[in-house]
């Protein structure tokens, strides 16, 4: 005789969800790898003590990154990209990675459009910050958050 499955028995699905939740909590509870202030230091090394204003930079990360080794990032800077008004540099910073610097991009009026896409490694759930430097020396920043379920650097 076949025994009917009791409703209280955990199904494969509930077990998987529970495992994923525990794993996610484990990553969140993990201390940051980079020492506090490393991010500010990296930004100061590149831009000095100039004021960084929020805005004009749009960062797009997936809400959930299943693989921290390859997280697609899209950066759009609101700029007409003309000779007189354009982006000269875009820098990506991570507050949770062992090194705060991720990548830097040099642009000019020849770019036509300040949109960049690449793939980066993230050592945990975090808000990635992008700073854009305009030709007049002004600095603008934007950020986006992502939840990383499998962090880079921690597991092999």
């Amino acid at each position: 005789m076949d025994q009917p499955v009791k409703p209280s028995r955990p199904t494969r699905r509930t077990l998987l969800i529970a495992t994923a939740a525990t794993t996610a909590f484990g990553w969140l509870a993990r201390p940051a790898l980079a020492a506090p202030g490393e991010l500010a230091k990296a930004q100061a090394a590149l831009f000095g003590d100039r004021e960084i204003r929020k805005g004009r930079v749009d960062v797009t990360l997936p809400p959930i990154s299943e693989n921290g080794y390859s997280v697609p990032i899209r950066i759009d800077v609101d700029s007409p990209m003309t000779e007189t008004d354009h982006v000269v540099q875009v820098a990506v910073f991570s507050p949770q990675n062992p090194l705060p610097n991720v990548a830097q991009f040099k642009l000019g009026p020849r770019a036509g459009q300040a949109s960049i896409e690449t793939r980066i490694r993230l050592g945990g759930s975090q808000a990635v910050t992008v700073v854009a430097e305009m030709n007049d020396g002004s600095l603008w920043s934007g950020s986006d958050e992502t939840v990383v379920t499998l962090a880079a650097c921690v597991v092999l």
Partner: protein, 106 residues
């Protein structure tokens, strides 16, 4: 043999903004990973990318260990003259890889 994949439009109208995609096969070993015996795997990364169009560097990038293996880039440039776009990647030891793409601008 290193694989390089480029996506550049074959033709464009002068003044058009074109999207360029470039990917190179490279492990981008971060220097933070450990091997099976606990030894640190030495860092081996590409640090620089340049796109030269009409003798002018129109886009450049500095990479750090947080850039994924097989670094992929998508960026834009304005089509100006027919000619060659040169793509150059340089690693931390100065080794370079180059590829080119032709574009016809009308």
């Amino acid at each position: 043999m290193v694989t390089i994949r480029l996506s550049v439009p074959e033709t464009a109208t002068a003044g058009d903004i074109i999207e360029i995609k470039a990917l190179i096969q490279h492990p981008m070993e971060s220097g933070f990973r450990r091997g099976s015996r606990g030894e640190v795997i030495a860092r081996d990364i590409i640090t620089r990318f340049e796109c030269i169009y009409g003798g002018e560097t129109v886009f450049a990038a500095n990479f750090f260990p947080a850039v994924s293996a097989n670094p992929f880039l998508s960026f834009h440039t304005r089509a100006t003259t027919s000619g060659t776009l040169r793509f150059r990647w340089t690693d931390q030891n100065g080794q370079t890889w180059e590829d080119t793409a032709e574009i016809a601008v009308t």
